[in-house]
């Protein structure tokens, strides 16, 4: 395809391979307070998610235990008490209808969100890099074929196919793994395009030619010469993908094809909460707020990583320093 359809092209281009060493990137990243704050939020969240069983013990609340006595059955099961039934036992109140503890369920939900988002991203990067490299370095016909498949993958209505796929797979297949697979397998097209484009431009660079002249095989060149240079754009893309995948997971759960109950997930909670916004606003705002903060934190961090990897932004508007050119 042409110029435009080259997919998501993050600002970090390979054409400036001098993104700097890992340490420089790290230093630049640390200088951005927003990125640091986002990282802190995420670290806290990961910690909380990991410690979910601990909190369950601490509060004495099983995430799946019903409390029929805490909801008003005659009024549709709305939690008794104020703010969605907040009490010493139930720090963030309980779920309408079942009386399950919201705090512990939110923590367990975080595990799913994080697991699926990170897992799917890893799979996307893996598949995308493999496909992109093969398309760029393999035989011309193979390259075209992969390019075509990539185009199809990008054109596919991802959410819809994900829904369809989750319906096809046997119900006893582990759900979080299924989500990772579905999101990962359906959404690597962008990464593949990026890697292919970047590889093609890298391949024309002299140092790659020099490596070929030295008698290196394609695989060795890909591993030693290309992959390190692809790291920056791929990391940037991955950083953008994590929050996207988290939203996709939440969307699938929101549409009712995510993880299976009683496993809690934020999207699922939002899905059942959507009718409750007037009767029990806390039930909507808690998962919505958490999801928002998490996705935002990932996005901010991703943005920070992108800028750290591509420090050109700031130095663009300089006049009169055009390099002398010859040839």
């Amino acid at each position: 395809m042409s110029v435009l359809t080259t997919g998501p092209v993050p600002a970090a281009g390979v054409t400036t391979p001098a993104a700097g060493t890992g340490r420089q990137v790290w230093r630049r990243l640390r200088r951005r307070p927003s990125a640091v704050a986002a990282a802190a939020v995420l670290a806290l969240l990961v910690l909380l998610a990991l410690a979910a069983p601990l909190f369950a013990q601490l509060t004495g609340q099983d995430p799946n235990a019903y409390h029929d006595d805490l909801v008003d059955s005659a009024r549709g099961g709305v939690p008794l008490g104020s703010f969605g039934g907040i009490s010493a036992d139930h720090w963030l109140g309980v779920e309408p209808g079942s009386g399950r503890d919201l705090f512990v369920r939110l923590l367990y939900g975080a595990r799913i969100s994080l697991l699926v988002a990170l897992g799917a991203t890893a799979l996307q990067v893996l598949l995308g890099v493999a496909a992109g490299l093969t398309a760029a370095l393999g035989h011309r016909i193979l390259g075209r074929f992969i390019g075509g498949v990539t185009d199809v993958m990008i054109a596919l209505p991802m959410l819809v196919l994900a829904i369809a796929l989750t319906a096809v797979v046997p119900p006893d297949f582990p759900r979080p793994l299924l989500l990772v697979l579905v999101i990962g397998v359906l959404d690597w097209g962008g990464t593949a395009r990026l890697v292919r484009a970047q590889t093609l431009s890298l391949r024309g660079l002299d140092f790659v030619e020099a490596a070929r002249l030295s008698g290196n095989g394609t695989l060795r060149i890909a591993r030693r010469e290309l992959l390190p240079s692809l790291a920056a754009p791929v990391i940037t893309l991955a950083a953008i993908k994590v929050p996207t995948n988290m939203v996709i997971e939440a969307s699938l759960s929101f549409l009712g094809v995510g993880v299976k109950p009683p496993t809690p997930s934020w999207g699922q909670m939002l899905s059942s909460a959507q009718t409750w916004f007037r009767a029990d606003p806390a039930y909507v705002l808690l998962p919505a707020g958490l999801l928002f903060v998490t996705v935002l934190a990932f996005t901010v961090l991703g943005d920070g990583v992108r800028t750290a990897l591509d420090p050109r932004e700031g130095s663009r508007l300089r006049v009169g320093t055009g390099k002398e050119r010859t040839t």
Binding site: A211, L213, G215, G320, T321, G322, E324, T327
Partner: protein, 547 residues
């Protein structure tokens, strides 16, 4: 002549770098004047601050965070303190600038005539129609054929030389008193360069324009200006009338610079006797052809039109074959085919007498761009060691020893093994590239424009290194370059390429002194001479030829 056209006093320009408050000094207390109608060249190597000075004359640093010190007056306007309106009147109206890259310097979305007209209307009260007429007029003046029609074309429909003419036309539009040309010919082929320089010269004579020429090429300056100002590190090293500076440079740096400039007329370092014809050629090419693309977009790169013979050549041990040609002549494509990076479309290549396909064993390459030729993420030692490892060498100590030996051999230090490319200068990187090429002990090295991205002083060092290595190791060299003087310096034989074919080939002295092909003659004539007198004679000769 009450006031100089340009009067710079203690000009200082600092650029912000990295953290706030950190600055890099680009121009350091430069003072000079330019009288109306005179021409001054700012000459220097990269980083000397010459382009920054040019931009400062028009106040182009405003709003970029750069700090200016000292004063600059252009046509009576104090650039440093002028308000936005005064500055706008100055720009284009009093002083007009011609930039280096004519393609990117024009707006791709608008017709060239409209762009000129737009500039004209800013400085005059002309109607749209009058402005368009003026655009056609100046385009016609700079030698655009059929100017009325071509004014409606967009930049990409023009050739490089035409674009530069159009830029000059834009500069002329408002009848400025000063023309600032920042590397106006650097992106152009040598024959086109000569035409543009002639055009600038003619305009000066015709309109009495002042000219400030910024260039890295002393040759370009020699034929075009009255005075020369040699810059280094943001300050003036030497200034004076062009004849005097070129013939009797006073500053050591100027002398060094001039000595490094390759000349067509200078003495050649004696070459060792090349191997005799009886030797088997290290590389031999038969009727090579190569094209890119298909159908309408087919581009013939090497081999000329369909019925032509293709390209055949042979290089022997210890011999250097220079290949010269302008851009698009197919010289780089040919070079890549010789080492096997590109498959020939047809024809055969023999290395050491055997036909090869794909990467040729024993063939290496030195690339043009010192930035992209080294992997920025690997230490230079690893880059040099790469061919060794690829060849199956596993003994780490032996590899390290060999790489350190190579580093020493190309004039670097063994301790540089673990450094990364960005820690080196362009010349040093090119040395690393040479070391890498030497590592597998090749019999042939193809150098594709190995010095064209380097400053002249560095150029000289690198070419000297190459010659020395060849003498020592007896390698066959193919030296590809657009710069005829450089090729003359390093080659035994030279092949002149045009349109994918070798139009002339022979021993260097023969081809340079008695060119047989008219194209070769044109090329040689177009090369700027360091002698202002010779440049003037050549110019009038060219003008007669075209008259």
């Amino acid at each position: 002549m009450t006031e100089p056209l340009v009067d710079a006093v203690d000009l200082v320009v600092d650029f912000p770098v990295g953290a706030p408050g950190e600055y890099l000094r680009a121009v350091d207390g430069l003072s000079f004047t330019l009288e109306p109608g005179r021409a001054l060249a700012l000459v220097g190597e990269s980083g000397s601050g010459k382009s920054t000075v040019a931009a400062a004359l028009l106040g182009l640093h405003r709003g970029t965070g750069a700090r200016l010190g000292g004063t600059v007056r252009v046509g009576g306007t104090d650039v440093g303190s002028a308000d936005a309106g005064e500055l706008r009147r100055l720009r284009g109206g009093v002083a007009a600038m011609v930039f280096q890259d004519p393609l990117s310097s024009l707006d791709p979305y608008h017709a060239i005539g409209d762009q000129i007209a737009e500039v004209y209307r800013i400085h005059t009260t002309a109607t749209r129609r009058a402005a368009r007429a003026r655009a056609v007029e100046v385009l016609d003046r700079v030698g655009i054929p059929d100017a009325a029609r071509r004014a409606r074309s967009r930049p990409h429909e023009f050739s490089g030389g035409m674009r530069q003419r159009a830029l000059i036309a834009m500069a002329l539009a408002c009848e400025p008193r000063l023309l600032i040309a920042d590397e106006p010919t650097t992106a152009l082929d040598v024959t086109v360069q000569a035409q543009i320089l002639d055009l600038l010269h003619g305009l000066r004579e015709e309109r009495g324009l002042g000219l400030l020429l910024v260039t890295h090429d002393v040759g370009v300056a020699a034929g075009s200006v009255d005075d020369l100002l040699v810059m280094r590190g943001g300050a003036a090293v030497e200034r004076g009338p062009v004849d005097r500076v070129l013939s009797a440079p006073r500053a050591p740096y100027t002398r060094e610079l001039l000595a490094a400039v390759p000349r067509l007329d200078g003495p050649r370092t004696p070459r060792p006797r090349p191997a005799t014809d009886a030797d088997e050629p290290v590389v031999e090419a038969f009727r090579l052809r190569r094209e890119f693309g298909r159908g309408k977009r087919r581009v013939l790169a090497v081999g000329g039109p369909d019925r032509a013979e293709g390209v055949s050549l042979a290089v022997r041990r210890g011999e250097t074959l220079g290949i010269v040609g302008e851009s698009g002549s197919g010289k780089s494509t040919l070079g890549r085919m010789l080492v096997g990076l590109l498959e020939p479309g047809s024809g055969r290549i023999h290395h050491e007498g055997r036909e090869t396909a794909g990467i040729a064993p024993g063939a290496q390459m030195v690339f043009q761009d010192p930035v992209s030729s080294l992997n920025p993420r690997r230490s230079v030692g690893e880059s040099i060691a790469d061919p060794l490892r690829a060849a199956g060498q596993r003994d780490e100590a032996a590899i390290r020893a060999r790489v350190e030996e190579l580093l020493t051999r190309v004039g670097l230090e063994p301790g540089h093994y673990d450094r990364y490319p960005h820690e080196f200068s362009g010349g040093q990187r090119q040395r690393v590239g040479i070391a890498r090429a030497l590592a597998p002990q090749p019999s042939l090295i193809v150098c594709d424009e190995p010095v064209s991205a380097l400053d002249v002083t560095t150029q000289a060092q690198v070419t000297a290194l190459l010659a020395e290595l060849q003498r020592e190791l007896g390698i066959a060299l193919v030296f590809i370059a657009h710069d005829l003087a450089v090729v003359r310096q390093v080659s035994d034989r030279v092949a002149v390429m045009r349109g994918g074919l070798i139009v002339e080939e022979g021993p260097v002295d023969e081809v340079y002194d008695r060119p047989a092909h008219p194209y070769t003659r044109r090329l040689l004539d177009a090369v700027p001479a360091l002698d202002p007198g010779l440049a003037a004679r050549r110019r009038s000769a060219r003008q007669e030829a075209f008259a």
